[in-house]
Symmetry: C2
Subunit: 403 residues, 2 copies
Amino acid sequence: MARALEGIRIVDLTHVLAGPVATMILADLGAEVIHIEPPHGDDAREFGPFAGEPGKNRSAYFVSLNRNKKSMVLDLKQEKGKQLLRELIAISDVIIENYRPTTMSDLGFTWEEIQRINPAIIYASISGFGHDTPPEYSSLPAYDIIAQAYSGFMSITGPEDGAPCRAGASVGDIFAGHQAAVGIMAALIHREKTGQGQYYDGSMVDGLFSVMENAVVQHTVGHRIPKPLGSAHPSIAPFQSIPTRDGWMVIAIGNDSIWKRFCAVIGREDLSEHPEFKTNSLRSRNRKALIEIVEKVMVEKTSRDWSRILERESIPHSPINNIKQICEDPCIEHRDMLADIDQPQMGRIKIAGSPLHLSETPGEVYAPAPLLGEHTEEILKNLLQYADEDIARLKKNGVINSG
Amino acid sequence: MARALEGIRIVDLTHVLAGPVATMILADLGAEVIHIEPPHGDDAREFGPFAGEPGKNRSAYFVSLNRNKKSMVLDLKQEKGKQLLRELIAISDVIIENYRPTTMSDLGFTWEEIQRINPAIIYASISGFGHDTPPEYSSLPAYDIIAQAYSGFMSITGPEDGAPCRAGASVGDIFAGHQAAVGIMAALIHREKTGQGQYYDGSMVDGLFSVMENAVVQHTVGHRIPKPLGSAHPSIAPFQSIPTRDGWMVIAIGNDSIWKRFCAVIGREDLSEHPEFKTNSLRSRNRKALIEIVEKVMVEKTSRDWSRILERESIPHSPINNIKQICEDPCIEHRDMLADIDQPQMGRIKIAGSPLHLSETPGEVYAPAPLLGEHTEEILKNLLQYADEDIARLKKNGVINSG
C-alpha cells in the first residue's frame, strides 16, 4: 500500500523511549528513519524481555520500538563522526533527538548550526522539561517516573488513600512521543506551503500537563485539588472496578435507568428507589456505602458469569483483561494489532502493531528492527556517495561500526 | 504567528472527549473546526467544574477542550439538518465523529455516501473497539474506563497487591484523540500529493494496546504476564515513590554509582557494599527489604529537605506535585502551559495550553470556546451562502439554534 510519509528522511538521534516512539509512528507511516546509534548501541538494546539465543540479550523491547527503521553507527565524539552527521542533516527533512538539553549544542549542533547546514530542516527535540525552560530545570533528568511525578499526573493516579502510583505504561515518554510526531507533521505541512523549516521543543512535563483533562480546571476554576480515586469516577457511581468471585471487573452505571436495570439484575429492586441511592448524584455522594453493597453481591459470582448477565441487560461493563487475555482477544486479532515480524537473530515474534488504521495509507509494520549498524554502509554508499576505501578507513578508525 | 493548518476546514461531529481532543489539537494548529452540536449541545457542556454565574452550569471542562473552535447547531434528526451537513461536507477537508459505530450510517452518512458528496474528503471515526471489528464488539460502549480495563492497561496500573486502578486522566480517550490527529495529518499529507481522500478507523482499545510498551512483548516473548507495580520499576531499584515526613516523593537511583552517593547521603555507607544491595540487580531482587530500609530513613525529613540534599549530590528525584503545585510551578509559567482565556459568560479563566512548541507555527490558544450555536448564522451566510429569510425559516423549524 502507499505510505503517507514516503520520501521523508529523518535523522534519528533518539534513544530508549520518548524519541523512539515519535520516530516509530513516523516510520510506521512510511518515513525513512535513520536511527543513528553510538558504537555501543541505543541503551534500549540492553532492556528485556529478550528473545532468540539465550544469554545473547537480544531485546524484544528494542524491536517493538524500532521496527521499520534503519540503523547507522556513528561515533559523534570523533570529528569525522560529526562531519558525517552534518552530511546527513544536509540531505534530510527532519532531525530528532531526546538527549539532555545541552548535549546537542555541546556536540556543536545548535539549532543555528543545524539551520546553517540545511535551512529547510525540521529539528525536533524532546526533553524532560523543555529546552527553553528556567536554567535550573534544563539539567534535570527526564525519566518517565519523574515526568509523571512532577507534572501532577501521579497525584491523581492510584488508590484513594494509598501510595501514589505510576500509570503502568510510560505515559510521560509516550505522550511526548505522540506530540512530537504531531509537531513534526505540522511542520512538514507548513514547509510544503512555505519552504520554511522550524524547531520543535517538546517537554515530557508539558505533554502530561496538557492531557490531564479536567484536573487543571478543577484547580484553576473549581478551586479544589483533585486526588486519586482508584478506578472510580469523580461524579458517576457505581462506575469502577469491583471484585468478583475470581478477580475484578468494571461496571459503568452511567445513568438512573441503567441503575434500575442493574438493581433488578442483582435482585435488589429496593435500591432503585432507595432515598440514598436512587439518583446518580445521591449514589455519588453515598459511594462508600453503595460500593459495600455492590461488592457483597458481585463477589458471589465469577466475572464471566457477571459478564453474561450484564450483557443480556445491556448494562455497560468490562472484564479487566490481563496482557495475555487482551493479546488473545478476537478484537485484537481482527484489527491486526499484533504484528508478526521475522526478526533476524530472534525468529518470528509478535509485537504491538500500529493503531493508525487509514484506508489508503495505514500505519504498518513492514520491516524488522535493524541490527546495530546494519545500514551504515548502505547509507554511506548510496546516500552520501562514499567509496569503499573511505568506508574501510572510517571502520578502521572506529567512526562507524566495524561491520 | 503563522499556523500550520490554516485553510483546513474540519466538520466536527464529536462529543465529550476522544474526538474533541483530536479536533482541539488540530484547532490549536490553526484548522477551522466547526463543531456541529445537537440542539441540546455537546454533553460535555454539562460537566463540571463550572465557572461564571453560579447555578448556570457553564462548563470550564468544555472550554478547556473546545477553545479555538466554532459551534453550529444542527438537528440531524430532520432531513433539512442532514442536507446542511451534506453541504458542509462538500466544502470541507475533514469530517470527524466519535459516535457509536452504527450512528453515522443510521443517519445516512456511510463512508460511501460521504465520499460521493466529496471524493477528496478525509473521514475520521473514533470508537471504543473500531468500526471494522467483530460484530459483537461494535455495539459495546466506549467509556474511558472500559477501554482502560479491556485493553489490559488497568491490569498493569495500581498498587502491587490491591485493586486495579485507572490512570487518573482518561488516557483511553486522549491517546485515541492524539492518534486520530496523527492519522488525519498523515491523510492530509497524502492528499496533498495525490488528491485522494481516505477513511481513518480509530479505536480506543487499539490506541491503549499500542502504548503499553514492554508489557506486550513481556507476554508474547517473555511468556510472563506483567502485573501492577505501584510506582516501582520492574528492573531498577530504588526507583519509585517513597513516603517522607510530610508526603511522598520519587527517587530514581538509576545505577550503582548513584546508589553509592545515595548511601552516603542517608548515612548508610554500609549498604553500598552490602551483599544484598550492592548492585542494581541485587537491589531489584531484594526490593521489599531495600524499600523498608529506605522508607525508615526518608520518613525522618520533609520532601523539601530531601530535595535540597539530593539535589546537591545530583541524585535523581522529584516531588510528587499535586495539581495546584504544578499549576504554580515556574516551568509551567515559563513555557506558557497555562493559557489565560477571556471566556464569554465566564470571564478570565486559566486552562492547560498546547504542548506543541513549534518555533514558526506553535500550537496556541487564540480564541475562546464557542457558545452553543454561536457561529451557526455566520457559517450559513458566509460558507453556505444562505439568505436571511432562509435562515429565519431554519430557525423557525428548529433545524438550527434559535439564535
